[in-house]
């Protein structure tokens, strides 16, 4: 069974990754998970300086999902290089470093520094970050800024450059098209959906920042629709993300057009979900008589004359 795939100049051993912010820096789970069985690890988002993150409460359970407002707590790029990268280099899997920043220049600085390091296979860019220049509105909802970040970073690296898109926009495929034109090798679809939870009795929001990011199985239908929208209109490899708990969920993402998937929130239920899913996809493909998991990519049997925003809802 052919399980792997290639992006730019990097070969990944399979199509299952763990999503940024849901697997730490890989070292926390060394006793529980055979990370060598993953296609790769997306690290927690890194910024130039360490970030404390938001005050508690940072998480709240919601129906079939959770809300988070971690505030991108992270150790900063220097501590990462010093303390985490040496360990990550010993792992038998690919390391994709996820980058978050509050200015275009900060994205460039972080990537520039990391690009010189050994043992990093690619970059995933989290654009769901407040742009301080624009009053803190997220880069990720501004198509021009997203494209600008992409082209600036493209100039800095020969490694795979993956832009992680936010679902909180009307037309996600326009963003995918823009970053493709700006030189991205792939897009990750999707980050969390803006959501909110309230305690009726105390009248307080359940997370300290009032609103936060919704993840988990609750958003799987939304994520599938976003991946499908991108796959239908832009020719670019997609990492499908959102609510994947099982191999069957992952196959659904491949069918609608994802070249690979990432496991996020499910890691909090079981950090070895990625390994189980990778094995599960393989046996599913075997049962279906396939020779290459890639045969599932985009293999949905659907009417093609239907646009996601054209329905009577």
């Amino acid at each position: 069974m052919k399980t792997g795939f290639t992006l730019r100049n990097v070969h990944f051993k399979n199509r299952v990754f763990v999503a940024s912010g849901t697997f730490g820096y890989g070292d926390e789970v060394q006793n529980l998970v055979e990370v060598g069985q993953l296609g790769g690890i997306m690290t927690k988002s890194l910024s130039w300086k360490p970030r404390d993150g938001n005050p508690p409460p940072r998480i709240a359970e919601t129906p079939s999902g959770m809300l988070n407002s971690i505030g991108l707590a992270n150790i900063g790029v220097h501590a990462f290089i010093e303390k985490k990268l040496p360990y990550l280099r010993t792992l038998d899997t690919c390391i994709i470093v996820n980058i978050a920043a509050s200015s275009v220049q900060e994205y460039c600085d972080v990537l520039g520094l990391l690009n010189e390091q050994e043992g990093i296979h690619g970059f995933e860019i989290n654009v769901s970050c407040p742009n301080v220049k624009e009053g803190g509105l997220s880069f990720g909802i501004d198509c021009d800024r997203t494209a600008e970040i992409t082209s600036r970073l493209r100039a800095l690296t020969e490694k795979p450059l993956i832009i992680k898109l936010t679902p909180n926009v009307t037309h996600i495929s326009r963003f995918a098209a823009a970053v493709k034109d700006a030189g991205a090798d792939a897009v990750s679809v999707m980050n969390t959906v803006i959501g909110m939870a309230v305690d009726a009795r105390t009248r307080k929001p359940r997370i300290s920042t009032t609103t936060g990011g919704l993840s988990g199985p609750a958003i799987k239908p939304i994520a599938l629709a976003k991946v499908y929208e991108v796959a239908q209109s832009v020719d670019i490899p997609i990492f499908g993300i959102g609510g994947i708990m099982t191999a069957e969920d992952a196959v659904e993402f491949l069918l609608v057009g994802a070249s690979a998937v990432q496991i996020g929130t499910a890691n909090f239920i079981d950090p070895s979900t990625g390994v189980t899913v990778a094995q599960g996809i393989e046996s599913f493909a075997r049962q279906q008589g396939l020779n290459d998991i890639g045969e599932l990519v985009g293999a949905l049997d659907a009417r093609r004359d239907f646009s996601v925003l054209q329905s009577w809802l």
Binding site: L32, P63, P217, F268
Partner: protein, 257 residues
């Protein structure tokens, strides 16, 4: 650390809405230390969705026990478990209480379900040669779960049993009669009680460890969901799951309730 299904050996109601659930798991039974917790998945479905953290209450041979109050969906499902059912466990997790050190007497203070880690803690302390004095508070007598606690001092808010008042007031009155210098305080319970314990311990110049709660997703340091604010530290937050749940009371700022 293990992540697996464990066979439930029984569930019993030990006070109003308070249950003890026991399950077999030799690895946890062998390795768990007082103050550590388990992150439990109550069943395979999506509702409830996240794991639920519980302190280890007692260990007997291969059997591990937790004690809990039914407050929502997860605990309701746990209370309905029967011998032969399974729970999925992840643990033992977290930093245990520091039971080594110079002190000779241990003052254990529990409010409500804060008694959870006390039986196993008392046992380990005694094994380590410490004298143990335990103080337990509850709103009313029906909510007291005093099983497996050796001659506890009891306080109830409504005076329906023991001292009439808070457990911290009881500790203070006890200290007036029996001043202690060579003691260490261990406390678990609601935030307001922990604040009072912390003030009391610092005023009495006694070392003091608190066991904290906080919303958790993973329990193993990968979600960053469980910060507690630190005092005068370079990093502003510590994680309750991996740097706690037990903390020296002088190092952290308790969250307002």
């Amino acid at each position: 650390m293990t992540l697996c299904n464990a066979d439930v050996t029984g569930v019993r109601e030990v006070a109003q809405g308070v249950y003890v659930l026991s399950f077999r798991n030799p690895e946890v039974a062998r390795t768990v230390l007082p103050g550590q917790f388990l992150n439990l998945r109550v069943h395979e479905g999506l509702d409830p969705f996240l794991r639920r953290p519980f302190s280890v209450y007692r260990v007997e041979k291969d059997v591990v026990e937790i004690i809990f109050q039914v407050i929502g969906k997860g605990t309701a499902i746990l209370a309905g478990k029967k011998r032969g059912d399974v729970v999925n466990i992840l643990g033992p997790l977290g930093v245990p209480f520091g039971i080594g050190g110079e002190f000779t007497k241990a003052i254990l203070i529990a409010g409500g379900l804060g008694i959870a880690p006390m039986p196993i803690l008392g046992e380990h302390l005694r094994k380590a040669g410490k004298r143990v004095e335990i103080f337990v508070g509850a709103r009313t007598v029906g909510q007291l779960a005093l099983h497996h606690l050796k001659s506890p001092h009891v306080a109830t808010d409504d005076g329906s049993r023991g001292f009439h008042g808070t457990v911290v007031a009881l500790v203070e009155s006890y200290f007036k009669e029996h001043p202690q210098t060579d003691a260490k305080v261990f406390a678990c319970g609601p935030t307001r009680m922990l604040e009072a314990v912390s003030r009391f311990a610092q005023a009495s110049f006694l070392p003091c460890e608190l066991s904290l709660e906080g919303e958790m997703a993973c329990g193993i340091g990968i979600c960053q969901g469980c910060p507690v604010e630190r005092i005068n530290a370079e990093r502003r937050y510590a994680l309750v799951c991996t740097e706690g749940p037990t903390f020296d009371c002088t190092t952290i700022r308790l969250r307002e309730a």
